[in-house]
């Protein structure tokens, strides 16, 4: 059975099958399944509390699943966690470094934990310092670094042993745009080097830009999975139009719902969202209907189909909620 499972998963970097995990009464992950191909960036997208970190913690063998299993490079997270760890690099959501040690001391220590020693260790530490652009600050204490620099060291630690698979749990959370750009570039660079990246984020733009495949999670479940194009197709390639009115939306909404080319109308906090097939054709009708009801459109924002629209389509809520 084991050998069959290993053989079946040999061509898949990460195979996740029906993972469950509860914390008391709270079911954090409920039957999550997906496959990650070698050398791709796979995104787990979802709002805070969707179950992304719990899923990644189970895949990193930090948490034991209540049910289900996953295979990382053919190794079961249940039966062979040590083998999983040896092929894995984990970039945790929080900065997990020793602030009173220098960047070099941190990398050296973590390198030893991944089994590196001697000249090989020194070489890899120097390479990683170069890679994360901190060679000139190698001997500076991490505690004195900016948030972006710490993030880079945080990623560097996971690269020391040249892992086949890297988990990155919201690595851009709370950092400045420039550092964020650097990190996104480095993720692409890792993919180009042949590494498999499992990337969790609640930033739709990041998933859209980076990921070959995306699993959208909500309330501990994968509610959609596929390429960006496949996911967008779920909402029928509809364009999203966000509008605001100078009056109560009531009757205007009724009229818009009935308008030709409108597939869905929803409202939240005074903002009306209309999903349409062709915004050029529908927008004049929306203006016309509003004018007829003595309402004035005070703002319009047209958005091409994206993951935000997919999430809205699937859950009726915005991704950032």
């Amino acid at each position: 059975m084991n050998s069959e499972q290993t053989m079946n998963t040999n061509h898949i970097a990460i195979q996740v099958t029906n993972l469950h995990r509860a914390f008391g009464e709270i079911k954090a992950v409920q039957g999550v399944s997906f496959d990650v191909q070698p050398g791709e960036i796979f995104g787990l997208l979802g709002p805070n509390g969707a179950g992304k970190t719990t899923t990644i913690s189970m895949l990193a063998t930090l948490l034991r699943p209540d049910e289900g299993d996953a295979f990382v490079m053919g190794h079961s997270i249940r039966r062979d966690p040590m083998a999983v760890k040896s092929v894995l690099g984990v970039v945790p959501q929080e900065i997990a470094l020793y602030e009173d040690l220098s960047a070099r001391e941190n990398l050296t220590f973590w390198g030893k934990m991944y089994g590196l020693r001697g000249a090989r260790l020194r070489q890899r530490v120097n390479e990683v310092l170069e890679l994360i652009g901190l060679s000139d600050r190698a001997n500076g204490r991490v505690g004195t670094f900016s948030g972006g620099m710490k993030r880079r060291v945080n990623i560097g630690v996971a690269l020391l042993h040249k892992p086949q698979v890297i988990y990155m749990d919201e690595p851009t959370a709370g950092i400045d745009p420039q550092s964020r750009r650097n990190i996104l570039d480095s993720v692409v660079s890792l993919k180009n080097q042949g590494m498999t990246v499992l990337y969790t984020t609640h930033y739709m733009e990041e998933a859209q830009e980076l990921c070959n495949h995306i699993a959208i999670m909500d309330h501990g479940r994968v509610i959609a999975c596929g390429t960006h194009e496949e996911l967008v197709r779920l909402v029928g390639e509809q364009t999203r139009i966000d509008l605001t009115l100078n009056v109560e939306a009531g009757r205007v909404l009724e009229t818009w719902r009935a308008a030709e080319g409108v597939s869905r109308v929803s409202t939240e906090n005074g903002q009306i969202t209309v999903l349409v097939e062709d915004s050029n054709a529908v927008l004049p009708r929306l203006f016309e209907a509003a004018t007829r009801l003595s309402a004035r459109i005070t703002s319009v924002d047209i958005r091409e189909p994206n993951l935000e629209a997919v999430f809205l389509h699937l859950t009726g809520r915005a991704l950032r909620d």
């Binding site: 990193a60 063998t61 930090l62 040590m82 760890k85 040896s86 894995l88 984990v90 945790p92 929080e94 900065i95 997990a96 470094l97 020793y98 602030e99 009173d100 040690l101 001391e105 220590f109 973590w110 030893k112 934990m113 991944y114 089994g115 020693r117 630690v157």
Partner: protein
């Protein structure tokens, strides 16, 4: 190998922390230094305990005739009465470094000298002192009158007198036994018996001052250099007195702060959990047992470094004699093991480092102070017994007991037994702590 990597990483972090260094080495040495300076002058080799002014009203009218040979009385004087013997002893050359004796014609004038602060202690030897000494049914008593605002000087005098009177009581018991057992025809020998037993007693307490001081100063340099009779120098005996005070204090400080270090170093497990480095360690191909063992080893090694440094610093800076190598090694091993395992145990009970503040402020201070009661009560015989018992309720008490045993030159077996108790305590703390941590991270 990874165990050592983790341990050395933790030690590097500990020894880079100024706060930790201050607590590990700075405060124990500073506190000891304060006591050292308080009781002596560190800059000079001699410790000048001020002389205690004693005024003696010797009203003793004598009793059965006896003569103590000059060679057996410190100061080389002869004594015709028991009162005279007391005066001679207190006026001896060995006492001259500590006591300045003057004589008063009456009890009133002696009391008046103390009341007028012309003397710190008045000793009144009653007229029937020798008679009562010779009477098996009566008790010979000396009146001790002191300035109530003073402690150290009078307590030294009281200690010397007590010792002297204890010796004399032994003599009296010997006489009583003779009187009970010997036929009446031999009673004429009583004077000789008194003389003989006084000789023995005084020979045994030859160089009374030096002996007393030496016994009270176990932390001093080896006895052979102390008990050279009348050659005992003022600076040496003063130094003994200083070390008698400073040695146990330094030992107590070392134990107190070793437990702090054990607990604060073991707290790095919780700290790493909160800093998320511990979960990250668990994502590396390093077994949990190796990670926790490395953390525990760092606690042990950090306390080891602290204790060794403090022992050496105590020896080099304050010239404290910790005892025979084997004894002090056993005691130190006990301290290190108990302090580190106690730290692991305490931290395994905590949910977060936030709770650590209460533990540091409460549990460690309370148990540390309880453990040190034996040191505080050391100079008070009545309190010492209770203090020793109470202090053994906490592991710090056992650690201090072992150290004091080593310092007092107790047999290695005794120190070993105390260390054995500490080993048992350590094993219990360690097993519970490891079990709880393993359960926590399972």
């Amino acid at each position: 190998m990874k165990i050592l990597d983790i341990a050395f990483k933790d030690m590097l972090r500990s020894f880079r922390s100024m706060f930790a260094l201050v607590f590990m080495f700075g405060i124990p040495l500073l506190m000891t230094g304060m006591f050292y300076v308080m009781f002596g002058n560190i800059a000079s080799s001699g410790f000048n305990l001020p002389k205690t002014k004693v005024i003696i009203a010797n009203l003793d009218e004598g009793g059965p005739r006896f003569q103590v040979s000059a060679k057996n009385i410190p100061g080389g004087k002869q004594a015709r009465t028991m009162g005279e013997l007391v005066v001679n002893v207190l006026q001896s050359k060995e006492m001259a470094d500590l006591i300045q004796v003057s004589l008063a014609p009456s009890a009133e004038s002696a009391h008046a000298a103390v009341d007028g602060q012309a003397a710190q202690v008045a000793i009144v030897i009653p007229a029937d002192f020798s008679k009562k000494f010779a009477d098996p049914d009566k008790q010979a008593v000396i009146e001790f009158y002191q300035d109530p605002t003073l402690t150290i000087g009078p307590s030294i005098i009281r200690s010397i007198l007590n010792r002297f009177m204890d010796g004399m009581a032994g003599v009296k018991i010997a006489i009583n036994v003779f009187m009970d057992e010997a036929p009446e025809s031999d009673y004429y020998l009583t004077g000789d018996i008194i003389q003989r037993y006084l000789d023995i007693s005084l020979v045994q307490t030859e160089d009374l001052a030096g002996t007393l001081l030496d016994e009270q100063a176990p932390t001093a340099t080896p006895p052979s250099s102390q008990t050279s009779g009348s050659s005992a120098s003022h600076s040496q005996t003063s130094q003994n007195m200083l070390l008698r005070i400073v040695g146990p204090i330094m030992g107590g400080m070392m134990v107190f702060y070793a437990f702090f270090t054990g607990t604060s170093t073991a707290q790095s497990i919780l700290k790493e959990e909160e800093e998320r480095t511990l979960p990250r360690l668990f994502t590396t191909p390093t077994p949990q047992a190796v990670i926790l063992t490395g953390k525990f080893l760092s606690v042990f090694l950090t306390v080891l470094v602290q204790v060794v440094v403090l022992l050496l610093a105590g020896r080099l800076i304050f010239r404290i004699q910790w005892g025979a190598l084997m004894s002090v090694t056993l005691a130190a091993a006990g301290i290190i093991l108990t302090a580190s395992s106690f730290g692991i145990f305490i931290n395994s009970m905590l949910k977060s480092t936030k709770q650590g503040g209460a533990v540091f402020g409460g549990v460690l201070t309370m148990t540390g102070m309880l453990g040190m009661i034996s040191i505080f009560a050391m100079n008070s015989p009545s309190a010492a017994r209770l203090g020793n018992t109470v202090s053994l309720l906490v592991p710090q008490g056992w650690a201090i007991r072992g150290l004091l045993q080593a310092m007092n030159g107790a047999p290695v077996v005794d120190v070993g037994l105390t260390t054995l108790v500490m080993l048992v305590l350590s094993a219990a703390f360690f097993v519970i702590g490891v079990w709880r941590f393993n359960k926590r991270y399972a």
